[in-house]
Amino acid sequence: VNDLRELYQELILDHARHPRNHGAIAGTEHCAVGHNPLCGDRVVVYLDLRQGTIARATFEGSGCAISLASASLMTEAVTAASLEETERLFESFHALVTGGLEPELAPARLGKLAAFAGVRDYPVRIKCATLPWHTLRAASRAESTRVTTE
């Protein structure tokens, strides 16, 4: 059996316990609700978008350690990034957690997000890791619609 610590790395546990950028951004139109109907998890992502660059990203919601840590580390990773860079980051992250990208080959831009490599061994938990990202994408397009992982 792969070690549980591969999944629950210290960095992930830390962000799950103490989520960064937790809260709303008042007045922004760039906000979206993500919902995982399978487990009832719900996340709201808020963006302060300025000329195609994310000046600030925050989230609200509760969920499992993987989804909380993913949302928390995501908001850190996308701060000051352009939407194009953010999209590329999501693509790499998605490939990493779904097993399409070997952890050793992960691009440097993933940074701390590489901690989620262990998710690939737990297929039922992939949605926990990707829900915040799907929701961020919707928020950037100011889609006020509901995002689901189904």
């Binding site: 549980l4 009832g40 350690a65 993987i66």
Partner: protein
């Protein structure tokens, strides 16, 4: 069959259990790296005894054919076995007549059948359907759809903090327009065994029909629909050691007679013409198209097996397991049992301080322990309990005390990973 002699009531001893476990081939399998399987997700689906697997094989290997239409020998045999399965189900739940048994795909279809067959004709604008706060989505949504179709009103009976129904409130909600009370015999999320006999009495005195969602009831105690006093009883084959895709609706003969058909097709008609079509008699009236023949035969094999083991003995054994689980888990400081009422059956639902149920589920799975973590298709109930989800351990006749202890050890591992 190794279980044949075990008829005397009383607790099942460990020797008995070892041989009973041997009747379920999957329990001997090892998971990925050789760790044994501790299966505590029985409320999702139960494992199948060899008797069921053999019945399926026998049908497909020796008499596979369609029912109610062939003149040839195989079809005659398949028809006889399919109808014998109906009689077995009727006997198992104390139905007055096999013709009161309708085979469906499962509990969900059984409830939808009643929502259409009974609801469309007998629930009028302004009437009410009463459900409870602890229902599975499959016993909420069909009634919401019915009420929307018919301009009727859906009313909800609340539960208390112990997960028990408020009977006084239920009695108050039974009004002159209440056509039906639909509730779980046993809650799938909490394990609460509802006082359905008393509720049926109250309903009957009010001229209200009662539907019981028996998916988690029939598998945990001897069921006699006459004694329960309900009008409809729905359950699934796969949650009572039978195959997936087969289910049962029991309804009183006069109701089946009066109800409209649910689906149209072959077998449910007497004559078809473009001038007008006439219906077959129940239960055929509600079994359009080729039924799940193998499923019905497999379900009957499961019920025969359970009769040999004895449902009362199973009830006592499972009660003992649940009591042990409540004791062990209840003494763990970080574990909070959900709605720990006294009438718990088959299920222990809990939350762990500081660890989301999904993370608990993943750690337990890592140690070979299968549980359910989620909202259990009961979102209104989760909202009432103020939790997004729970961890649910659910037992079956083949579980043993050691497996409850393994669950507790698995939780200790979770505490280690997620230090507070």
């Amino acid at each position: 069959m190794s279980v044949r002699d075990r008829r005397e009531p009383g607790a099942v001893d460990s020797g008995d259990l070892a041989s009973l476990r041997a009747d379920f081939p999957i329990l001997a399998r090892r998971l990925g790296d050789g760790r044994p399987l501790v299966y505590l997700d029985n409320a999702a689906t139960t494992q199948k005894p060899r008797a069921v697997l053999e019945a399926l094989e026998r049908y497909y290997a020796t008499e596979c054919s369609n029912v109610h239409r062939g003149l040839h020998e195989l079809s005659a045999r398949a028809t006889a076995d399919y109808e014998a399965a109906r009689a077995t189900v009727a006997r198992f739940i104390g139905a007055a007549d096999p013709r009161e048994i309708v085979f469906t795909h499962g509990t969900t279809e059984s409830i939808n059948l009643v929502a259409h067959g009974f609801g469309n004709g007998m629930v009028d604008p302004g009437d009410e359907v009463l459900v409870t706060e602890m229902e599975h989505h499959s016993n909420i949504v069909p009634w919401q759809l019915l009420c929307a179709r018919r301009g009727a009103k859906l009313a909800v009976v609340p539960i208390d903090d112990g997960g028990e129904l408020d009977l006084d409130e239920l009695a108050r909600r039974l009004g002159p327009r209440t056509r039906l009370v639909a509730l779980a015999h046993v809650s799938n999320a909490l394990g609460t065994r509802n006082p359905v006999e008393r509720i049926a009495e109250l309903a009957r005195a009010n001229g209200t029909r009662v539907l019981l969602d028996g998916a988690q009831g029939v598998v945990h105690e001897p069921v006699d629909v006459q004694a329960l006093g309900c009008d409809f009883y729905a359950f699934s084959g796969h949650k009572i050691y039978g195959p997936t895709g087969i289910g049962v609706l029991w309804a009183r003969a006069e109701l089946l007679e009066a109800m409209q058909p649910f689906q149209g097709g072959g077998d449910m008609i007497r004559t078809v013409s473009f001038a007008g079509t006439t219906w077959n008699d129940p239960p055929a009236k509600f079994e359009a198209g080729t039924p799940h023949i193998a499923g019905a035969i497999g379900l009957a094999a499961a019920l025969d097996y359970l009769e040999r083991v004895g449902m009362e003995r199973i009830r006592l054994h499972e009660q003992e397991l649940v009591r042990h689980a409540v004791d062990v888990l209840g003494s763990m400081p970080r574990v909070r049992l959900c709605a720990a009422g006294p009438r718990r059956t088959g299920v222990v639902s809990f939350c762990v301080d500081g660890i989301h149920p999904h993370d608990v589920g993943t750690v337990l799975d890592h140690h070979g322990i299968a549980v359910r973590a989620g909202h259990h298709c009961a979102q209104p109930l989760m909202e009432r309990l103020g939790v997004p989800a729970t961890v649910r351990a659910s037992v079956a006749c083949y579980n043993v005390r050691d497996e409850i202890d393994a669950l507790a050890r698995g939780l200790e591992r979770a505490f280690e990973v997620f230090t507070a």
